[in-house]
Subunit: 368 residues, 2 copies
């Protein structure tokens, strides 16, 4: 399916009031063209967690609602999704959601605890726990996000494309097994090494769930999909290939049947980019721990790349931030297929005016 | 200085009782030869944090003493240093100490809090804090570790060589600035970007302190030195080269004036091995996030390499651990200059019998 089709696949039913308010915004298809490595006038930029705590608008809404309330109330999710689009000249919106709700849909008890992050109250311990996991239709159990996608598409009226996303099987497995964030992945890897049948059953179910969920998001109107395998870099290349790659590949195969491009993101993956490429995504996301030119050289020119500013570079003075941006763009060297982004999510303490400056710099410095 | 000289430089004055107990142990110089990329009969192995909580002997001692008490009481440090040497057929001892005491010597208040790890009670905040740091003679402020090194050398009687170590300037700076462990290094990098003069003054002092300290350890009898830049991988390659490399290089230059080989260790460095090599160590330590063959290909044959088993692989069943070992040895491919180690410190929950098995497997599988 071509870009034009992807852009049009869920035809926007514009709200006339908003549309008039957006007069003068042309259709921005930089991101979609870049995913396909087609030339664009300026390097597109969006930021992981661009709707988040660094924005006062978001913090105000969070005073009244929990993260899960916002995710599960389509009108609130729409509002938060649009906050950064209204504040900055970003080239894409990303639906406000989290990487973990698929686990809740499968039967795990998910919670976000202030200061601690995500918690799974009933982590997987024995084979029966994995056997008990269901793989429901995402339209039944994750319909709130699909509805939010439909609403955002209408509101955006093709102003910028909308990204859908999910956690990838390995990253989801690590939360499901550890019960939350982890430093050393001891329980996750121990299960992987010691109970391979249980591991493969779990990854099989997760791959089915995540593949269906991403596909449903594309059908609801998401024009690009990002698979967050945030913690894939906890594994060595051989373990990644054996225990994870087949499942991520299956997810990407299912997701791309919708004709929508897929971005495959991970951190700490500098040592196994070749393996990650084998999962088959259109775009590979890399963190800042590798030179973009080096990463692209290893990945080859037949794939687009997303990255890779250190999120903490946004805390630098602007003249220095400008040099970081220039360095990344110089490494991309004008090749079609570079999406500018951070190497991981934007941090809550980030100065908001530096975000505006970053978006401006990327566009200005990359003008053809 | 040749290997023979290094081995003999602090002539052991053996305790006859212990020596008789060690009859039959020949001088083991595998590690020293491997640091120089000379052929050996078997691949040498030691483990980061080999004296630690996974051993019952260590846990018993820790019931009575804090970490800092053990470090600062040479007799206790000797006892702990020798625990893994007496329990396993390891090819090196590493002096029991920590990467952070140089910060205490410079005027910071260091503590280890159970369940939390290291804490600096007076972290660096303003330029005056950095100006106030002293660079004392390590023989005055860190004499307890130097004395422990002398005692261990005597006890070991050349049975295996002894490794001395210190935290590297960047890793020390991150603890000094953040006040403890950190996930995102926001304060550290913010200082680096926003107050470059303060940063360079701090790194300058840390490089002087660490260089002197390592040199003093060699003079006390340490036969190999390891520089732990555990968190260097938090930086991108360009920032590493600009803000860190000159200081690590200076440390290594100072340390090697003693004629002792230096191992330069970091984690998450897969994307910048070439930059790390420029610091000039004899051996580069890599974590498990990169294939050893790939790392060595990028580093070149003129440097030895240490690594790189995932510490969690020790939780795998033995037949699987054996395959992990075989894979690493196959990648080293019999080249001189491979020190087998974990990619990071051994974890407290590690099954102790798997450690014995690992040492056996490495020796057996690598027998020429």
């Amino acid at each position: 399916m071509g870009i034009a089709t992807a852009t049009e696949q869920s035809p926007p039913k514009p709200n006339p009031k908003r549309l008039s308010g957006m007069a003068g915004f042309p259709v921005n298809d930089r991101l979609l063209r870049t995913c396909r490595r087609q030339p664009v006038d300026r390097t597109p930029i969006w930021l992981m967690r661009q709707a988040g705590r660094y924005m006062a608008e978001y913090r105000r809404l969070r005073e009244k609602h929990t993260i899960l309330e916002i995710i599960k109330t389509p009108e609130l999710a729409v509002e938060v999704t649009l906050q950064p689009i209204n504040a900055f000249d970003l080239d894409a919106a990303i639906i406000f959601a989290d990487i973990l709700p698929p686990l809740e849909a499968m039967g795990l008890s998910l919670d976000f605890i202030r200061g601690e992050g995500p918690v799974i109250h009933n982590p997987l311990r024995i084979a029966a726990d994995v056997a008990a996991l269901s793989v429901p239709d995402p339209r039944e159990r994750l319909g709130f996000t699909l509805e939010a996608i439909r609403l955002v598409r209408r509101e955006l009226a093709s102003r910028v494309p909308l990204i859908g996303f999910s956690g990838a099987p390995f990253t989801l497995a690590s939360y499901a097994i550890e019960g939350g964030a982890t430093r050393n992945f001891v329980l996750t890897k121990s299960l992987m090494y010691n109970q391979p049948e249980m591991w493969h059953e779990l990854m099989d179910k997760l791959a089915a769930m995540v593949g269906d969920y991403l596909k449903a998001q594309a059908e609801a109107g998401a024009q690009v999909l990002q698979l967050f395998d945030s913690w894939a870099g906890a594994l060595g290349p051989a373990d990644y290939c054996r225990y994870v790659l087949p499942y991520s590949r299956r997810v990407i195969q299912t997701a791309t049947t919708s004709g929508v491009p897929v971005i495959h993101f991970g951190t700490g993956t500098s040592g196994m980019l070749e393996a990650i490429k084998k999962a088959g995504a259109d775009v590979i996301g890399v963190d800042w721990r590798v030179d973009l030119a080096d990463a692209w050289c290893r990945l080859g020119d037949d794939v687009a790349i997303q990255g890779n500013l250190d999120p903490v570079a946004l805390f630098a003075p602007l003249h220095m931030l400008e040099k970081h941006v220039a360095s990344i763009l110089a490494q991309a060297n004008g090749r079609p297929g570079h999406i500018f982004n951070l190497g991981h999510g934007i941090l809550p303490q980030t100065p908001v005016e530096h975000v505006a400056a970053l978006v401006y710099m990327v566009h200005e410095q990359s003008t053809a």
